[in-house]
């Protein structure tokens, strides 16, 4: 890889954190040209067996073109299959089991689970697309009565907010209401996603280089 001034970096991320990655990239004034962002559909969440093969396909075709590859996923229910692929292609992923854990940070996540195991977590993204990912994703639009089967073991919705946004808080509250659960709000920011980003071996550009 040598000592290039600016490493070429490929980020392969779950669609559910794409907006957050773009935001962090801008905040940290990173060369847009140095980073290529590829997203996979967020609804792979419900079919995690698709995640590792989809990432492997991209890596197989493109690994050579980049110095660094960051995979914007946790284990996400791949049961170690994703890690096996990443090891093969010398790529790293975000720490933790899933996005709720890397946004909250491992300790805080564990504390909240300890406090109430029956917690259903939502992020900014999940609140924004609650209807598509949760209501339609779980088939509650077609079969509303399934709500009880899915959420019988749950007590509360925990909103792990990235940004402070009263509109989203209202929406999250409404979502909790629809599921018949209590509501708990916690601003956690970007957690380990932000930290991982800071540690990428990329050179920051001037403010002027940030394009809209």
């Amino acid at each position: 890889m040598g000592s290039k001034e600016c490493h070429k970096c490929l980020i392969i991320a779950c669609g559910a954190i794409a907006a957050e990655i773009v935001k962090l990239q801008r905040q940290q004034f990173l060369f847009n040209e140095a980073i290529t962002l590829k997203c996979l559909p967020a609804d792979y969440h419900n079919t995690p067996q698709k995640i590792a093969p989809a990432i492997e396909k991209i890596l197989m075709e493109q690994r050579d073109k980049y110095d660094v590859v960051l995979v914007g996923y946790g284990d996400c229910g791949t049961g170690g299959r994703l890690d096996a692929v990443l090891e093969k292609y010398d790529a790293t992923r975000l720490p933790g089991a899933h996005c709720y854990e890397f946004f909250a940070g491992a300790q805080l996540f564990e504390d909240m689970i300890e406090e109430e195991l029956g917690s259903f977590f939502v992020t900014d993204y999940l609140v924004r697309f609650f209807d598509r990912l949760v209501i339609e994703g779980l088939g509650l639009d077609r079969y509303p009565h399934l709500c009880e089967i899915y959420f019988a073991n749950y007590k509360r919705v925990v909103y792990l907010a990235q940004e402070e946004n009263p509109v989203l808080v209202k929406k999250a509250q409404a979502a909790a209401h629809v599921l018949g659960l209590q509501f708990h709000y916690r601003k956690v920011g970007y957690g380990d996603l932000g930290n991982t980003f800071k540690s990428l071996p990329l050179k920051a550009s001037g403010v002027a280089n940030v394009s809209g």
């Binding site: 419900n46 995690p48 791949t78 049961g79 089991a97 029956g118 077609r142 089967i149």
Partner: protein, 229 residues
Amino acid sequence: MSDDEEEIILRDLNDEELVAQMQDDLYDGLRDEVFEGVEILLERKWDPNAILSDALVEGMRIVGIDFRDGILFVPEVLQCASAMKGGMGLLRPLLAASEHAASTGKYVIGTVKGDIHDIGKNLVGMMLEGAGFEVIDLGINNPVENYLEAIDKHKPDILGMSALLTTTMPYMGVVIEELDKRGILKELPVMVGGAPLNQEFADAINAHTYGRDAAMSAELAKTIIGRNR
């Protein structure tokens, strides 16, 4: 009126057609229709065990295959499960009273500590019941003590554990180790399952059997019992 119309159609079918129709209705998650099919077969003096295995379990086996192949999704599977449950509700008291009441074996099943996913576990429980097992369901979030207590109390032939989170999978290993320490493991086959698991993981934690899906798990459980008797 449509209910009446369908009633007439179901009753018009001969046994073979009716069983095939019931499997279709189960696939489509039509609880009322499946229930009615069971009623009709009972009126035709079918053995409750045959109704269970030929119409319901076989129907659910097909559902399981299409779920595995990505043709059906979780909500549809839940609809099918609900239809099967309806039919089973009608058969359960009859099965208990029939001469074949002797169960295939006792099966204790539960989701491990820290995990509250239970859809897969419930499906496995249902298929085990369909295969004639007496199923003792410990529910969710079970620490090792719960398993030990249930083993002590119910003396099961098989113990089953479910986990859906990467973070809770390793706890199955903890339970198995504890069973081994207490000398229980050599007597009691432990089956494990859950979407993120695979055979390698099951081998690594020293589980007896890995169950990929509900129908297969019920078959494997029967095989284990057969071997141990």
